[in-house]
Point group: C2
Chain length 198, copies 2
């Protein structure tokens, strides 16, 4: 099979793409967020469980609700970003499985107190996979990403996911990064340091 993705796409998604902290004054249309989601949602999750939920913080008012929950070093860049995505996971994702995975009684694999640990792990793992898909889909549409874990999850949950069912995972600024303000890229492990073939 021929390689289906050309070099320019690999560059845009991975090889030239960088985490940004400085943003150009250029808005992100809502339609682009819809489009990124509609691409990302096709990525695989366990039993198609699709636990990721997202709030896209765009308005000044909503940004002000988010900022106090962030570590100091994440505030200025988040205020400047056109959009900040809050990725969360639905801890009761399994209630949707009769619709998402009708071939089997998949709900029974995760529901109930005896399955609390496997449900929590499944929500975290698969919601994180989906957030990765989202970031790469956003890059595929020309957006830059600035993911961050430095915030108070409980405070974000109270403000943006009231009710307790959805747990925040990480947040990610989205927009058009200023390439002039990038630092040198951090080193990565070589294959043989972290992978083996047996």
């Amino acid at each position: 099979m021929a390689q289906p993705v050309d070099r320019s796409a690999l560059n845009a998604l991975f090889l030239d793409a960088r985490t940004h902290s400085f943003w150009l004054d250029k808005p992100v249309e809502d339609a682009l967020l819809h489009r990124a989601y509609e691409i990302a949602r096709m990525g695989p999750t366990s039993a198609n469980c699709s636990p990721m939920r997202a709030v896209f913080v765009k308005s000044r008012e909503a940004k002000q609700r988010l900022l106090p929950a962030l570590m100091e070093g994440n505030r200025e860049k988040t205020l400047a970003a056109p959009v900040t995505a809050i990725f969360g996971n639905d801890s009761q994702f399994y209630d949707h499985l009769p619709r998402l995975f009708p071939h089997a009684d998949a709900r029974a694999w995760f529901a109930g107190p005896g399955n609390a640990q496997v449900a929590a792990t499944t929500a975290f793992r698969n919601g994180t996979l989906q957030a990765a898909y989202f970031m790469l889909a956003a890059r595929a549409l020309g957006l830059d990403c600035g993911p961050m874990s430095g915030f108070d999850n409980a405070a974000v949950d109270r403000e943006f996911f009231p009710g307790g069912r959805i747990k925040s995972n990480f947040i990610c600024n989205l927009g058009y990064g200023d390439p002039a303000k990038l630092f040198a890229r951090g080193p990565r492990f070589e294959f043989d340091e972290v992978c083996s073939i047996v």
Copy 2:
């Protein structure tokens, strides 16, 4: 900014790509696994912590060591797949931070008994992001993926990650899937069901 990724690349990565359970009898070269890793490693992780570790199970002997740990329904397809990736996370990833993130004493954010929970969460979140990057990089190179969570993690760890430092996350068959044996795609949530813009 123009959309940097064309429709055929979106199709290969997301829109037409499917989880496969039936594999063509066509080998996967080691060089392709190296190349997929070298693409995927460029994706973002928190403080560049890069906790993912991977074992690519190719040989008959190694497959036989893996099979007993799998749920019955995952055995036949795993035996038939040219490669099965075992994705794990280094629970002591922070020992590499002086090299990977030299700008700050990032090791101190995660090392020590008081940081055990944040370290475990960081390893799981970021190793899972990297596994998502790997699957999409593999698809970008023409491979198909068949990710699975249905296995005994402790048994896989004993066999493939002895020592206790690396914890298995999920496994993923890799190869060239048989498109004739795909079922209909599962439904996905609409944007407004799981996302909001505020």
